[in-house]
């Protein structure tokens, strides 16, 4: 992969989705208005709450609340098959009705939130734990063979999307939540590694790192003491964006039968089960569909919002890759 392309890739993948960025201030980033001259407009303070951050936080909070609450209470047992309640219309304790087995949709949604977050946390955890250190190593030794090797393997893993990994794992070990999480996590490693590498490359040329290196500090010490804290905000944003992608992947896998197995409720499988009843009972597709969309929207907004909030270095990484 060429340097230039890598730069763009990082730029795009850092944010995942370029959004309404603070860079839209008039005249900003213009060649004749560098920020470092005396008397410039004062840099906007980082850490300003923005609407996206609040909305994203609220949506994510809602999902988390449903997930946590489901441990203590759900209106009904979400796995209870009750022929008497088959395809029950909403109302009377069944807030959103029941499915073809008489299971309460609302309860299933609540426990489904748990599944979604569980898969997301583990998958993003795998990606971060593997990807971030690899990216930092590659970024700290940009010309070494190790860096080259890491980035090549990274490109290769990139050719195995989560779905293919999950199908392969599922074909061999049998599908399930665990294989789905591992597949999504591994497939997300390249994004993390790329972003961590780009951020590290930037941090490595700053004065304090140069000073630390001049002072003879060893690389691992620099990585832990100086690099990681400085790229943490980039990684946090990446985690949020990856979380959204993981939710989509989990839903798709469950829809195909490679994710969470019955009877554990999952939004993707709820959708898949609803498909045959689309003609008669479309609401069964509506609720899990809405849940997925809102959760993904929440994490995307949160990612965008965090990027603006955690400025200003993030912006520069996006701008220069």
């Amino acid at each position: 992969m060429t340097g230039r392309k890598a730069r763009w890739m990082t730029r795009w993948t850092t944010g995942g989705r370029p959004g309404d960025r603070p860079g839209e201030q008039p005249g900003e980033g213009r060649g004749d208005l560098p920020d470092d001259r005396p008397g410039r407009r004062p840099g906007r303070p980082g850490g300003r709450l923005n609407a996206g951050l609040l909305a994203g936080g609220a949506l994510v909070g809602l999902v988390a609340l449903a997930a946590v609450a489901s441990f203590f209470w759900t209106p009904h047992d979400p796995t209870l098959v009750d022929a008497a309640q088959r395809l029950r219309e909403p109302g009377g304790g069944y807030l959103l009705g029941a499915d073809k087995f008489g299971r309460d949709t609302f309860s299933q949604l609540m426990v489904g939130a748990r599944t979604t977050l569980y898969v997301g946390v583990v998958a993003v955890g795998i990606a971060a734990v593997l990807g971030a250190p690899l990216g930092v190593i590659a970024g700290m030794t940009p010309r070494g063979w190790l860096s080259e090797l890491i980035m090549r393997v990274n490109d290769l893993v990139f050719a195995f999307p989560a779905l293919l990994l999950a199908v392969m794992l599922g074909a061999v070990y049998g599908p399930g939540t665990l294989t789905a999480m591992i597949a999504i996590g591994v497939a997300t490693v390249p994004a993390f590694a790329r972003v961590a590498r780009a951020a590290t490359l930037q941090v490595m040329v700053t004065d304090y790192i140069l000073a630390a290196r001049a002072a003879g500090r060893r690389r691992p010490a620099i990585a832990v003491r100086h690099v990681l804290p400085n790229i943490a905000s980039v990684l946090i944003v990446q985690a949020s964006v990856s979380f959204a992608i993981a939710i989509l992947a989990e839903a798709a896998l469950s829809f195909l039968g490679f994710g969470t197995r019955p009877p554990i409720p999952s939004w993707g499988r709820m959708l898949q089960e609803s498909q045959e009843l689309l003609f008669s009972t479309p609401r069964l597709a509506l609720w899990p569909g809405l849940a997925i969309a809102l959760a993904v929207l929440g994490f995307n907004l949160l990612g965008d919002g965090l990027r603006d909030f955690l400025d200003p270095r993030l912006r520069r990484i996006r701008a220069e890759g």
Partner: protein, 339 residues
């Protein structure tokens, strides 16, 4: 030929340039100097109609018989690149990276009605005129294959292509190294028609211009024939600039006067230089007007009797002379001018 009156530039309710007036005769070379953030670029850009989004200019500016401010872009388009041109500060980013240099020079001519083939030929001639080596070959190069100095020459070729009456140069050499700067400046003074030259470098103004405008805080604080302004600066800001520049070798950036330029919108009321001026008095809380002092000016430096009491806002009334904002004579806006 160019006449600017009461030019005011605003962004989000903040005045970035305030009531700037000056004029340029055909063939005249005027320098525009001042520290970073004093509003020089915005002044130039508003004449070209190239202000960034969200920034607006009011006032009057005429080039020959054409209005430049408050007219629709479609009218301005015809003037830009043909009757007035501009060379920007940053040569590295001013050219389209995906287009051959020759095509970029030719474009400005085809835009103003020259046939394609002719424009291509003339583009090579122009590259030759700005002293680029092997112009025919260079015309087929992409910008990234050129050095900063070469790119700036290409920009100059673009600016000169249609024989404009006015050339605006916004710090055209700041991004270049010293030897290249010299060549570039020689070239500009050789080829330029009427010139509005923005710079930080007082020595450059001294060698290129006949007249000078000193800007600070979005205002013209002093203006006049170069020799008079440089040998006998009256405004305390100009005085500071000159004093500071004597301490450093030529070619370096304008040294900063004690204190730093406030951010846009944070200049003090009254005289904008008041918070940094060693001669400030309560009088300076009233805004001084840009005026040509009477030849019989009784006691320059002393406030005339009847000056307003501190805090008494009576702007315009106790001016130390008649307001002649667009005159060519030495004028300044200071209550306690230097001798």
């Amino acid at each position: 030929m160019l006449k600017v009156e009461g030019l005011t530039v605003r962004a989000d309710g903040v005045e970035l340039v305030h009531d700037v007036s000056f004029s340029l005769a055909p063939g005249e070379r005027v320098g525009l100097i001042g520290e970073s953030g004093s509003g020089k670029s915005l002044t130039a850009l508003s004449l070209m109609g190239l202000l960034p989004e969200g920034v607006t200019a009011t006032g009057r500016a005429r080039l020959g018989g054409d209005d430049l401010l408050g007219v629709p872009e479609s009218r301005l388009k015809g003037l830009r690149g043909s009757r007035m041109s501009m060379v920007f500060q940053e040569p590295m980013t001013a050219l389209n990276p995906l287009m051959r240099v020759g095509a970029q020079v030719a474009e400005v001519m085809t835009l103003h009605g020259r046939p394609r083939g002719e424009a291509r030929e003339r583009a090579v001639e122009l590259l030759d005129r700005v002293r680029l080596p092997e112009p025919a070959r260079l015309a087929r190069a992409y910008p990234h294959q050129l050095s900063g100095g070469q790119r700036q020459r290409v920009m100059l070729a673009i600016a000169l292509a249609n024989g404009p009456g006015l050339l605006i140069c916004d710090e055209p050499t700041t991004a270049l190294d010293v030897t290249v700067q010299k060549q570039m400046l020689d070239l500009i003074s050789e080829v330029a028609p009427a010139l509005l030259f923005i710079t930080h470098d007082l020595a450059v103004v001294a060698s290129m211009c006949e007249r000078v405008l000193v800007m600070y805080g979005g205002r013209v604080v002093e203006s006049g024939p170069l020799r008079e302004v440089f040998t006998r600066p009256r405004h305390r800001y100009t005085q500071g600039l000159l004093a500071a520049s004597r301490l450093t070798p030529r070619g370096t950036r304008l040294p900063v006067i004690e204190g730093s330029v406030p951010a846009a919108g944070h200049f003090p009321g009254g005289c904008v230089f008041r918070n940094r001026c060693p001669h400030a008095t309560p009088t300076c809380e009233t805004e001084p007007q840009l005026t040509e002092p009477q030849l019989t000016d009784p006691a320059p430096g002393d406030p005339a009797p009847g000056d307003p009491a501190p805090g008494d806002p009576a702007p315009g009334e106790p001016t130390p002379g008649e307001p002649t904002p667009t005159g060519d004579r030495h004028a300044f806006a200071c209550w306690h001018p230097a001798e």
